[in-house]
């Protein structure tokens, strides 16, 4: 469960460039919900993820994750319970290390990184089985440096790594935006299967309206720091890409674009 209470986010506070994004933003995401978040540039989608993950601080309000107040926790502390996949496939993997080594780090999340062996022989077979579920042929490349994988392969691996250990919240930050259409589709299917299997509460920011409509069980459309559309369950299923486009157009007209 994720709860954002009366969030206030002001950029460049007390300067001439001051701009208020969130004035009094509230959001409640029940446990296990898969929320697709859409909105134009500058609507506050990615900022919202940054505030939740702790990359940015807030000027007011509270952030609760399963009844724990995480508002003042540092990013790395929050990361123990939150997994995040970025638009840039190179953000969450170590390019200079092999697939096995990366997975060995990921599976050890929230356990001590002590002087015991980093990658055990027995783990490699286990990781290989896990990677083969991606159906990308990575199981034969366990000793390949992650830096030499394609963007799609890397993103699939990142997604797998983020969910290797139990987490309470998964943040997907336009995680298919840098991929070609076919690979995007594949990553979305993978996302769906992982979220359905693990039942993690998920927030997915996307610019792909079809993905937003097709996946997840709640849709949130944001504009200038406010939710302009919020539909869950059967109401969400009724939402069509056309509906979203219409709202987008209305917003654009209001802005004078």
């Amino acid at each position: 469960m994720l709860k954002l209470e009366n969030l206030v986010k002001i950029f460049n506070k007390d300067t001439v460039d001051e701009s208020v994004l969130f004035e009094d933003f509230n959001l409640f995401v029940p446990k296990g919900q898969f929320v697709s978040v859409v909105g134009s540039n500058g609507s506050g989608k990615t900022t919202m993820l940054n505030l939740i993950s702790g990359t940015m601080g807030i000027e007011g309000g509270r952030i609760l994750l399963d009844d724990t107040d995480i508002t003042v926790q540092k990013e790395f502390v929050r990361a123990r319970r939150i997994g995040r996949v970025y638009q840039n496939p190179s953000m969450s993997t170590a390019s200079q290390m092999t697939i096995s080594e990366n997975m060995a780090i990921a599976v050890n999340k929230n356990k001590p990184f002590n002087l015991s062996q980093g990658l055990k022989k027995s783990q490699i077979a286990e990781f290989r089985d896990l990677v083969s579920t991606l159906d990308l042929g990575l199981e034969n490349k366990m000793d390949t440096l992650v830096g030499s994988l394609s963007g799609g392969q890397r993103q699939a691996l990142t997604l797998l790594m983020a969910t290797m250990t139990p987490i309470d919240l998964l943040l997907l930050d336009e995680h298919t935006a840098a991929l070609d259409p076919r690979t995007s589709e594949k990553i979305m299917e993978l996302t769906k299967s992982i979220v359905e299997r693990t039942k993690i509460t998920t927030l997915m920011v996307t610019h792909n309206l079809r993905f937003a409509v097709d996946y997840g069980n709640r849709i949130l459309m944001m504009d200038k720091g406010k939710a302009v559309l919020d539909k869950a369950g059967s109401d969400k299923n009724a939402v069509k890409v056309q509906d979203l486009l219409e709202i987008f157009n209305t917003i654009s007209i209001e802005c004078g674009n």
Partner: protein
């Protein structure tokens, strides 16, 4: 005979520099941190060792304390960078500059100090080689290099080592694992400078004198060794980074000594060091990495 003696010198000096290079390998290659503390932590290790040894402490204990002193310097650089947000280059420069005074204080304001007691290269074992003690020296240096190479290799395979490598490769990765990447940087820098200080202690015992200026240009020597080594073995992944930089150190020291052997006055040494390093960097950027071809193609298109 002259050539043979030069070769023996190259091997000994090269192994000493190899120890520095292995330290810098941790900071520069693993952590991706250009650490200038090295110029200060190298003579620090030497002055700590000579003060203790001349004071009657056994050289093995003195060297362990020297490692500790170096680790503190590395940690200081790391803390300046991580906790106070000072840039990586500046943090190193600050510690290095402060160490100039620290080293002078420790040496009793003396620029040169001779060893008055037995040390790593002046003991019963080495002296049993008699007139061939240079072979004894080489044996001792080879053993030290191998021991520390194995320690570093093993460390890099532990969970802590994995995380250190991950931080150097992508800091975000460490954060996403719920760890403070800053602590790993401090740890890596402490290890690197502990290694460098040990190299300083070994080098001064080998030359049998403490030289306050021995650290000047050490960063260049170490970086050149690291870059030569890693460039040569780039496509041979089974060769460990530590092995590569040891070979790199021997090659760089060899090249320096050969130039000196042609009768270039020793005052030109640092100039030669810098020029040689520049040549290596240029070669590394163009020929060795194939970057030149790409550049030509760009020109062609333009």
């Amino acid at each position: 005979m002259f050539i043979y003696n030069t070769l023996l010198t190259i091997i000994q000096q090269g192994l000493c520099y190899g120890l520095v290079a292995m330290g810098v390998y941790i900071s520069y290659k693993i952590l991706d941190f250009p650490d200038l503390t090295v110029d200060g932590s190298f003579p620090l290790g030497a002055v700590v060792a000579i003060t203790l040894i001349n004071g009657g402490v056994h050289f093995s204990v003195a060297m362990i304390i020297a490692i500790g002193a170096g680790m503190i310097c590395g940690a200081v650089t790391g803390i300046l960078h991580v906790k106070f947000g000072i840039s990586n280059l500046l943090s190193g420069i600050l510690t290095m500059t402060a160490l100039i005074s620290v080293n002078l204080v420790l040496s009793g304001m003396k620029v040169y100090l001779p060893y008055t007691e037995g040390n790593l290269f002046n003991n019963d074992f080495i002296n049993s080689f008699g007139a061939y003690d240079v072979y004894g020296n080489i044996l001792v240096l080879v053993i030290i290099c191998i021991v520390f190479k194995i320690i570093i290799d093993l460390f890099l395979k532990t969970k802590t080592g994995f995380m250190l490598r991950a931080v150097g490769s992508n800091e975000k990765m460490c954060v996403s694992m719920g760890r403070d990447s800053g602590n790993y940087k401090i740890l890596g820098l402490a290890m690197a400078n502990g290694m460098v200080a040990m190299a300083g202690a070994v080098y001064s015992q080998w030359t049998n004198v403490y030289d306050n200026n021995s650290g000047v240009g050490m960063v260049v020597i170490a970086l050149a060794s690291v870059i030569i080594g890693t460039a040569i073995f780039k496509n041979l992944r089974f060769v460990k980074g530590t092995t590569a930089v040891l070979v790199g150190a021997l090659i760089y020291t060899g090249a320096l000594n050969i130039i000196i052997a042609f009768g270039v006055p020793s005052g030109y040494l640092k100039l030669i060091m810098a020029v040689l390093f520049a040549v290596i960097l240029i070669l590394n950027n163009s020929v060795l990495s194939g970057g030149k071809k790409i550049k030509n193609r760009e020109k062609h298109h333009a």
